[in-house]
Amino acid sequence: MRSTVRLSKIRFFYLIFLGAFFLIIFKLFYIQVIYPYSTNSDYLKTRKIPAERGKIYDRNDQPLAVNQTTYLLYAEPKKITEKDKLIRKVAEFAKTDEASIEAKLDTESYWISLKNGLTKDVKDKLAGLNLKGIGFDEEYRRYYPESSLSSQLLGFVGKNSGGDNIGYFGVEGYYDKDLSGLPGLLKSERDLSDRPIFFGTQDRIEPENGRDFILTIDKSVQQIIKNRLQAGLERYQATQGCVIVADPMTLQILGMSCLPDFDPDKYYLFNENYFKNSSITDLYEPGSIFKPLVVAAGIEAKAIKPDEIYNEEGPVTIGEYTIKTWNNKYEGKISMTRILEKSSNVGMVYIGEKLGDKKLYQYINNYGFGQLTGLDLQGEVAGYLRAKNQWYPIDYATATFGQGIAVTPIQMVRAFATLINGGKLLVPHTVLRIDAEGREQTIQTKLARTILSERTSLIIKKMLASTVENGEVSWAKPKGYAVGGKTGTAQIPIAGHYDPSKTIASFIGFAPVNNPKFVALVIIREPKASQWGSETAAPIFFEIAKDLIVYYNIAPGE
């Protein structure tokens, strides 16, 4: 009897345990097979840890592009209890319209991004409302303390098609991978209060933050050139303008500004035409600022001597074309230096003939025209140099005074720097150092090739100084300082012919002549006050030169 009762008890417990086991097996089947999403999302959370984008500084470690924390507002529609109130409040605080919020709230979705870029104040206000079904994710956003000061040079950070941050244009675009870094990963089992479950899975791969970039750009130089260019464009009623300032000995870019530009913090308000940096993307005919390059080539090839005399009698005929001086005045016997001083086109044709077609083409090629300069900014174009067999006699003649050839402003600065740095064709660059979490990498100047000798460089520098001193126009030069340079006025080709009313005025110069600290190119497009580079671009150059002389504390007579 006693053993029968005992057996019944055992069976009873056996059935209870069996039932419990079945319940557990069913629950496991339910949470692993039938409805796996909710359980996983409740406990095991896998989250990408964003890497902080590298900062960009100028050469004096002043910030040009840094990061700020903003918040992404998201919704979990299945958890929303007061939909109307949520739509109303989000629209009110996030400064968006109710219709677009409502359209996004798909009740079938588990997670929806509602608005990004919220400030801490807005996030705190929304969080204070304790609305169920919304949350916030932190994200980094680019912030440019100087707004548009270097916008085209820096570029901006936007979104790609996947919604991730990506750099566009300029330094942000060129060095995007280095600046972005690598995101980390957090795999963590969490309880309902988002506390880590201590005995659960806790894997964390730390993100590798982006590298910091220290540019060769000087914020003060950038400010000087932008202010002067802006005032110049207004004064001469020009449509567009660019200034590049570089160290001719290293070809470090000290300043680069084109107007009109854009605000990189609010890039989405601007047309994409404002984003491109005309200094590296626009091709133009350089005009007379090209002449010193040909004169230097002539001296280097021993085709001409600086004191050689040329008889400037009148226009020159090449085939069916007639080439005149800019003012159609001819001085008779003049030296090579005088050809540069008065910017004589016919004199340049003479130098071109002495140099010879083959060597002229070779030097144009050696100066780097038609090739990428290697500048570390996104969007540079190489332009093109026609194949030698496509050049006619008139092309060789016009090329000597910078017509019929298309160059970018940065190519022009690079080639001109060879005249004053001892003949070295260098690779221009905008990055001075890269800092990767304590490890610094300094960018060295790269020599592409040597084109001219020191002797030729010394001669052409003196000729360019004389061009500024004895040119056709007397400028407001900084007194006590020797400045070298050359003006240029190029007509704009439209539908196969030149429009005489529309010009690109330019001036390229350097100072001080004996020990150049900077080379600067000023280009302004379609000035209405005067079409000549000597009356528009040159005054802007001398204003900039005066400011730079003061800024660099250059002593008179150097």
């Binding site: 840094v66 924390t69 801490k120 000061l149 988002d194 506390r195 007194k479 006590g480 003061v550």
Partner: protein, 91 residues
């Protein structure tokens, strides 16, 4: 002997339960601490970023230019010596 063995089993199981509860509570306490430090690190980082932004704003040329304009410091920005060299030499 049987009595000792029976009690040992009980004491062992009670000890296990107490140990388990202690470890469980310690786990919760440590989880709370991890959570607190995670939040604190994030808060400090954000505060640091905000302060950095304020410093950069005040140090910017944009701010300096606006202050200069407000204080009327812009009337004679170019030094006289470059246009009138005698000022520099007349010492």
């Amino acid at each position: 002997m049987k009595f000792i063995f029976k009690n040992f089993i009980w004491i062992f199981f009670v000890g296990l339960i107490i140990g388990n509860v202690y470890i469980f509570l310690s786990g919760i306490r440590l989880s709370n601490e991890i959570n607190r430090y995670e939040k604190e690190i994030t808060r400090l980082h954000n505060e640091n970023t905000d302060l950095e932004k304020q410093v950069f704003e005040i140090e910017s040329l944009k701010y300096t230019a606006s202050m200069a304009a407000t204080l009327n410091f812009t009337e004679q920005p170019a030094p006289m010596i470059l246009d009138n060299f005698k000022y520099a030499l007349n010492r």
